[in-house]
Symmetry: C2
Subunit: 498 residues, 2 copies
């Protein structure tokens, strides 16, 4: 049996090598690729993913997996978990007809192209037909994959295994009114001043400061690096090779620092996955929600806390005396937590962010169940932004065409952003309980105990436990957004004085 | 028949995608890889080259090639040339038993490891056993590949198709005495002063100046880029994606500028290969010698010419006034062409360089024919350096262990460096004949006509013509080192006043 397991492992690691190579090419594409090479790079990437797909759908692999599942007595708990997950992945992959996969990737290429063009011309109609095709294909995909209650469940499952539309609805229902009430309270108070965040902040100094914070939270620069790209992201080619990217804006200090901490949080998770499980489910992230919980925890619970800046603010002031010398720590803390309803999701504050996600969730759900037509998206979008956030959408570029996700056919992805934030607050609460001296540690710049706790309770397991199992093991309960609400109420009460 | 040709092309381009992906991973390894990822990156690279090898040795590909060769009436000249080269490559690849290939790559890994260690300890004996194994395997390889006169021919052929040991011996025999005589004349004159080359030269300014020269010679930064690495190199992932690397030394202006022009020359060749022949022999460099002719032509015939610096020297002086304001163009020109026998090949001047290569050629030839034992390398090396260059080798790190090539099993590679320089002088002579205004163009910073001439006469053909055929087509004769001798005599006569 061990020989079979070794063969399974060898195969999966070989497939991982090809997928990781594709990830390197993708990373290079976003960071360093010369402009004229865009076409040939797309071809190289398509060849690699084709090869990885062929390797992963080989009949021999399926046979080994079935053998291992049938005679599993000799496997350890982790080995059995790997085999089960791989078999599930394998069987799911088999459900996709090759013709369909090729057609999807063509439709995505077309939709992405049209999305870019539609944005340039601020013309949703230019994007709508290919978006409609993608919605149709995603409805087909839900059927192929199967679901119990709602077709959208099948798509959610691709990003957040186990999450259902009903559960997501329950989660949002439980936070919607409290968040609305909190937002109303904030709006009734005097707005905080954050003008000084848009003074001149030297690029190189920002870059150095970002690296300093990343080192401080424990990102290992011998097992990773940071580069520049248009949109910040994290990717990994092994636990020992995790790549972060960020962007710098000399006239907006908000642009970089928290993106460093956010991507750094993703990166810490990837670096904490067990190295010897490379290529196996045990070496992979459990879900996008859990991934996002790690980024949000470091970005917000740590990186936007008063405690954290108690430690780092004076050195920040030293770096940027002109912009910050007359700004107190309290003023700075308020500014980095300013709440203000706005148009763009990726620029939103911690609180209003969830309305952005909720709106996308409601629209996606309706599209996939067939109760909303693509043509109706703009008016629906605009109405919901008016209803939830009280903002007027001036045009679709700043409205329903702002995100890349739909042009990539990623339906079911957005909800994981909120799930991640809610898990983050919950995990952070548990960590505070487990580490009584956490606040004083963070205040003195010591992040290692918190990181150790995350490594031990989350990172080391890869996909061995589901998101829900992880949460249950740590705190004895499932995802509970009440922790996020409590966290937000306390934070904003102090900042907005209500 | 065209359907067969299209299928052949499709297959080769797919193989190229995998090889190019490996090249991206290699480039990343030399430029940006975090240190802890060395092991996993080696594994990823090995998987990719394994896949490329499997794809290239597939029986079906051989059958298509044979069909195309048999019924070749419908193929164009270029298509037929592609098929012939691919068949030759395919048949050569078939000669290697898989067991042997795996053993070679293990032996190389071991030899490289031991070479690094032996250098650290300055102990040739630590390297000798694995080097002996490699020599033995290379002798086996020569037998497997076959040869007419000398086993070393088979190895030369891997880097410089068509070049034989006899021809290489003839070439060196024809230059050995004239170069010795020239060196003696130079040594009898007053040495030029180049102390100012080791003043303080700001890193960023050097980098910017290097980029400026690269743009000036025509390197297309929309189809390539330059990064830093420990040893400068050029690699390409398509004609539209050519990557140069360089290194900067703040205290030695010699370190970077000519490495930029050298790698830039390689890069111009890669960018000039026909894009629509991607993955096919028609889109590949013909030989290492021709590749080196392009780098040497731009580095030396252009980049170390008085004409070229007539155009660029004043702006260089402006960039580095402290180091250069009191240095005349004539003094600068003499300094960058200073001739001095030395220990290290890669730091050698244009003239003594060829003795470094000659020594390696003589040793390799003797090792492969079995007339020299690995244990005898140090004494042989030291004796030859004494004989040809009059220098004493203080230790093997600065002697026979200075180059990486042998630890990689690259026997037959060194001679292409000299071949390249000789071709460079010959091609430059032809270009001067074809472009009467070349000198005045270069003097005014106009390099496009020269680049156009190289594109037209060399780059566009890929592997369609052999090195010798290219040379014959341009000048009606084969490689003739007399052009190099004439060039060198004229240059050094002017600088050393004899």
């Amino acid at each position: 049996m061990q020989a079979n397991y070794q063969e399974y492992k060898r195969q999966l690691q070989k497939i991982a090598d090809v997928r990781m190579a594709a990830a390197v090419l993708n990373w290079d594409q976003e960071t360093y690729l010369p402009s004229k090479a865009a076409g040939i790079r797309a071809q190289q990437l398509s060849t690699l993913s084709g090869i990885a797909h062929e390797m992963f759908t080989e009949k021999a692999l399926g046979e080994i997996l079935l053998t291992l599942i049938k005679k599993n007595a000799e496997l350890s708990e982790r080995e059995l978990s790997n085999v089960k997950h791989s078999l599930e992945d394998y069987q799911r992959e088999q459900k996709y007809p090759t013709e369909w996969v090729v057609r999807l990737s063509q439709t995505i290429a077309e939709a992405y192209h049209n999305w870019v063009g539609a944005r340039e011309n601020n013309d949703f109609n230019q994007f709508a037909p290919s978006l409609a095709k993608l919605v149709e294909m995603k409805r087909e995909e839900a059927k192929m994959l199967g679901y119990k209650e709602h077709p959208y469940d099948a798509l959610l499952h691709l990003y957040e295994p186990g999450l259902t539309t009903a559960e997501m609805t329950r989660v949002f229902d439980s936070v919607k009114e409290p968040l609305k009430a909190l937002l109303a309270k904030i709006k009734s108070q005097t707005q905080v001043n954050d003008d000084f965040m848009r003074e001149q902040y030297d690029k190189d100094k920002q870059w150095e400061f970002g690296l300093k914070l990343l080192k401080n939270i424990g990102f290992d620069f011998e097992a990773g690096r940071q580069d520049l790209s248009i949109h910040p992201f994290t990717t990994n080619f092994a636990a020992s090779d995790v790549r972060l990217t960020t962007k710098v804006d000399e006239e907006d200090f908000n642009a970089m620092t928290w993106s460093c901490l956010h991507e750094g949080g993703h990166g810490l998770y990837e670096q904490g996955l067990p190295e010897d499980e490379y290529g196996l489910p045990g070496g992979e992230a459990v879900s996008l929600g859990i991934h996002e919980s790690q980024s949000r925890l470091w970005e917000n619970m740590v990186g936007r806390s008063f405690t954290y800046w108690k430690c780092h603010y004076s050195s920040l002031q030293e770096q940027f005396p002109e912009a910050l010398k007359r700004v107190s720590l309290e003023e700075f803390y308020a500014a980095i937590n300013k709440v203000e309803p706005s148009l763009i999701r990726i620029e939103a504050d911690e609180l209003t962010y969830h309305f952005h996600v909720l709106i996308r969730f409601e629209i996606e759900k309706a599209l996939i169940e067939g109760s909303l037509e693509v043509a109706q998206i703009p008016e629906t979008w605009n109405a919901k932004y008016k209803e939830y956030l009280g903002v007027e959408i001036p045009n679709d570029v700043k409205g329903c065409m702002q995100d890349i996700h739909w042009s990539h056919g990623s339906f079911g992805y957005f909800p994981t952003y909120s799930i991640g934030s809610f898990y983050a607050a919950q995990f952070f609460y548990y960590a505070e309980q487990a580490i009584p001296e956490l606040a004083s540690q963070l205040e003195s710049g010591h992040c290692a105990t918190l990181l150790g706790w995350l490594r031990e309770n989350i990172h080391q397991y890869g996909r061995q436990y589901t998101a829900d199992q992880l949460c249950q093991r740590i705190g004895g309960e499932s995802l509970n957004p009440a922790y996020f609400l409590k966290y937000a109420e306390a934070k904003y009460k102090a900042i907005y004085h209500f």
